[in-house]
Symmetry: D2
Subunit: 343 residues, 4 copies
């Protein structure tokens, strides 16, 4: 463990923040040195500040850590993971990058910036090259790298192996878990025995982020992929796991068997990142899988599961929204940056 | 009440059967004279035979009725409503029609038969003309008229006013309530805190029934409408109310406002059928409606509610699956038949 | 409708406030003239201020009413129903009583005051006599009358007919619905697929309020009944309907049949109050009833249902917490006050 | 692994059977050699016969095992775990015991037999002595040892350390998970957004089994403990984890602190059984714990968690019903038997 890197978690007490703490507990490369949260929590032990709601136990080391405020001077770290709300992220993440820190952000604040990589390591690792552009542009010693919205991640991972068939259009109907809105996000009276067919801002993200993710980096910028995406996003009474029904229109009109094989053979070519699952896309053959409750923990929550690949091409994709879709995504980004020498 | 017609309910103890009993309790034209169910129930009072699970109280008159077996000789009625399973319906409904009875069926057994009307009164009332063809073909004194699958009904009602814009394609992702599978259909261990992305046989029905419903009756047969429909059907932990995300491709490319107006102005032109809702399509303007729990009882469960009409055209439609989508649909069919002189 | 009394609702936009508006929509004696809520809502139409979440439609008259602030000068009414939070209720309800208004309160602020009646009309109608004491003590022209906590109401109604057997001890385990905590009270992440064995302050209320309710009014004060009550309160993922397991220790050791008969024969002797249910205690004989989802609407939500009366004596009681346990309880109190000439 | 013992699982495809397969996957002493199930499953690979519904993956070795019929000649094992239904268990378990097999049974068939140990290793390990009595009585080479009903186990573990205070009475209200009824046991339409205050036969077991468990083995028989237990059992929409509200009446009237200390200090004195949790009783200090979803996996599902210890003495106890309350309980019994030389 000669390479232990000091990391901080910004917004450490929230739902995604807790997932960061869980994911980093026994990390071979990263070691939590700072847990930062709002002034209400700062000064308390993490044990007392965080209303821990995961089925795993709170890691002992984290439990005894004193929470610090979310600012550059209070956080002692070379790498920070950000689970901040978008408005706060806008200024705070820039401060950290300016101060020389690498910021792996789950927030939406910088995702659209042309010189900020929006990353899924299995999809567009070469976009890390944007970091150099970003540093040139902004004069930062550190940098900001972002991961997409949770709903975007699940199906974009599956679009990558479909590019070979001439992908043109995507229609997606999502059935999203409540944990995506944070612990206090969804009142029980709104969602028990119900479906809410609206998630603020979600469809716009789902329709645009994949274009950047699947775009081509030409050394100075990312040229977005020209595809049509149309989304309808719905909240369902599920704790964790976003399920998505996908229609993918492709020029070459592949058969379900070809698509299934493309998914099954998809190898992102990463070299042994600690958080990388054995298989990033797991193809299920049962008629009624994947399901959130049964499949969300596949690959320790980092695999996406697909099933019901039918002519059309239609299929179902499902993944763990606060692991694969949030904390785990940021950690995987940071691992790739470390591998590539950016940390 | 000079026109009281004697009606029987076949399969009266099940989930849809109970909805028939509820719907017919105070009906101005129809009076329950026979409640028929399997041999396990026959001979018992309905009170004891039916495991009543509706929030309304079991109607007193029904409660005291002795359940009879499901056969022509035991049932005393001019009109029967069928909530039988498809396999049983195949022979039993034919028996009743042959014996001179009008059969309003919620079962799937005869829906595809070219000489059996598949009806939504607000969509294709003129298809009743097939009854004459059916009687000619089969030599029956009675007849069979069917209503579509519950999922089909909700969105097909909304497709009717879109025909004027040159409807070409429909993509539908359904989020369906558990009551659609009957009381014992879905084990709680399969659906609590979960989504099951598969409902056996459903997608095939959803993709084909609207073509017949929206087809043209030329006096001797129904010529199906030429549209492409692609469905993905999902079960969610909701008691009642099927919610459907719809993408409708139309040649004239209408604006969301035009579509909204077409829905709002849609008047099926029926004349005061007792079970007809004041408005068959209710347009909701809130960003997060319709929702199953809040909107399923609109129009006493007979209205469908739409919302989120966006460019695309995309929208959400939701309706009560065991009322609008099953028992109420059959009753409305029978009311139309009575109005048109077939009963 | 010669007797139409002008009523206001304080806290009209919240979960219980909406139940008041629903309950008063077609009331034969009371007419809503003011809907009062926080400054955030004041000035808006009720339609826009209230996030209506009941399955019934918002009453048209209320929808068009402009919401006013919660103060004596803004509200035009002879009778106000209070769904205010306890801290605000403490001062505001006193202001209204001082100004000559009758306050029927669902809040906890004044329940323990010795000169404020804590009322369930079916249990202790004679306690209304405390109003004269209250007016003497405080020099008010109006008055405050309260109803108990929702959990208290359900089982206290059933304790009344058990007094004849020498009731000595009560043990109660409650399984309470989420609506009792208000629309935003319980985050979905805390309660879905879970039980929370704690409700702040609830057990203290449940153990003390029945003593006052079942106490004797001697013309100047209420002498509490001497019984031991021990409660354990739990939140379950149910929308409406508090279910309670009760053990009642009685000196005379009655049989389950005697208890069942006492419940069934219980006639509170009220004379036709509009909100009074036909039967205040409904005895169910099925082995698995009452259940919240199936029985909460019995008696339009104003009956309590009991079942599983076993030796011990043990039984189950269940009632609608925001109707029988809150808004309906206050309305019934006001009806009794009107009947007795206090309004 | 010199001590690998050949084990079979009877009823291997059901909900508890799957938990056995999961629990035994990497067991240091036991090795699955036979998976037995009904004739419908026999002959298939376990992978195809079992509808695996646990969040863990099906163990590979089990997946490839061919399921055999449930009879002595088909099962090759020295020890069998039985998850059979009670009626079948009555004959089949006796057959296996007669044939020389040790039967660790989760079924209810033999629990009340005077010469069959009803065991919780942490509570009454000395009752294993009954095996000798049983063998004498019945002339069996093998034997049958049973564990109690799932609801019994949770609170009986906590009663053991209360015996020192002169335990006299226990009142228990249970809130039980659906998995206790098997995969198809509870229809979703009965339990979603509901509580069912009845579980057939459960209260009788809960009121009687602890008397035998806490009784004294005098070398030839178990003399039951003389305590009064009164139970009310309820089903709630929770997947796994039975929560129980307990009132314990004790002669010495201990304080909550004394009770808390007794729980915390409780050391069953077992010596390192593989399935034994580090702490059998975990005392939680938070006001709102234990909760099924958050605490059921404590101690890999083998700990029971208690909280809210209040004067009365009242407290909450919660444990995993299909692990601590079923499969894990049987495995722990077998481990104790092995340690004591019975296997």
């Amino acid at each position: 463990m000669t390479e232990s890197i000091k990391v901080g978690v910004l917004g450490a007490t929230g739902a995604v923040g807790q997932r960061f703490v869980e994911a980093l507990a026994d990390h071979p490369w990263f070691e939590i040195t700072s847990l930062a949260a709002s002034s209400r929590s700062a000064g308390k032990k993490y044990r007392d500040a965080a209303n821990w709601r995961l089925e795993s136990q709170m890691p002992e080391a984290a439990a005894d850590t004193e929470v610090v405020p979310v600012d550059v001077n209070s956080v002692d770290a070379d790498l920070v993971f950000s689970a901040l709300p978008a408005d706060l992220a806008k200024t705070v993440e820039a401060d950290f990058a300016k101060a020389g820190c690498v910021v792996a952000s789950n927030a939406g604040a910088f995702r659209k910036e042309p010189d900020v990589p929006l990353m899924i390591p299995e999809v567009n690792p070469e976009h890390l090259g944007l970091i150099d552009v970003q540093r040139d542009n902004r004069g930062w010693d550190g940098c900001i790298v972002t991961n997409p919205n949770c709903t975007t991640i699940m199906f974009t991972v599956t679009l990558k192996p479909l590019l070979q068939f001439g992908l043109e259009t995507v229609t997606i109907a999502s059935m999203q878990a409540i944990s995506g809105a944070g612990y206090n996000g969804i009142p029980s009276m709104s969602i028990i025995e119900n479906v809410v067919p609206y998630i603020g801002g979600e469809e716009e993200k789902v329709e645009n982020e994949p274009k950047k993710l699947l775009g081509e980096f030409d050394g100075s910028q990312v040229n977005p992929l020209d595809i049509d995406i149309s989304a309808s996003c719905h909240r369902v009474p599920v704790m964790d796991g976003h399920l998505e029904a996908i229609w993918a229109g492709m020029k070459d009109d592949p058969s379900p068997e070809q698509v299934s094989r493309a998914f099954d053979n998809f190898d992102p070519g990463l070299s042994d990142l600690p958080t990388e699952p054995e298989k990033v896309i797991i193809v299920r053959d049962e008629p009624d899988r994947p399901q959130p409750r049964l499949d969300r923990n596949a690959g320790k929550g980092m695999s996406v599961s697909v099933g019901r690949i039918r002519s059309g091409i239609r299929y179902i994709v499902m993944g763990h929204n606060t692991i694969r879709g949030a904390a785990g995504a940021s950690v995987l980004n940071a691992e790739l940056m470390h591998k590539k020498g950016y940390i």
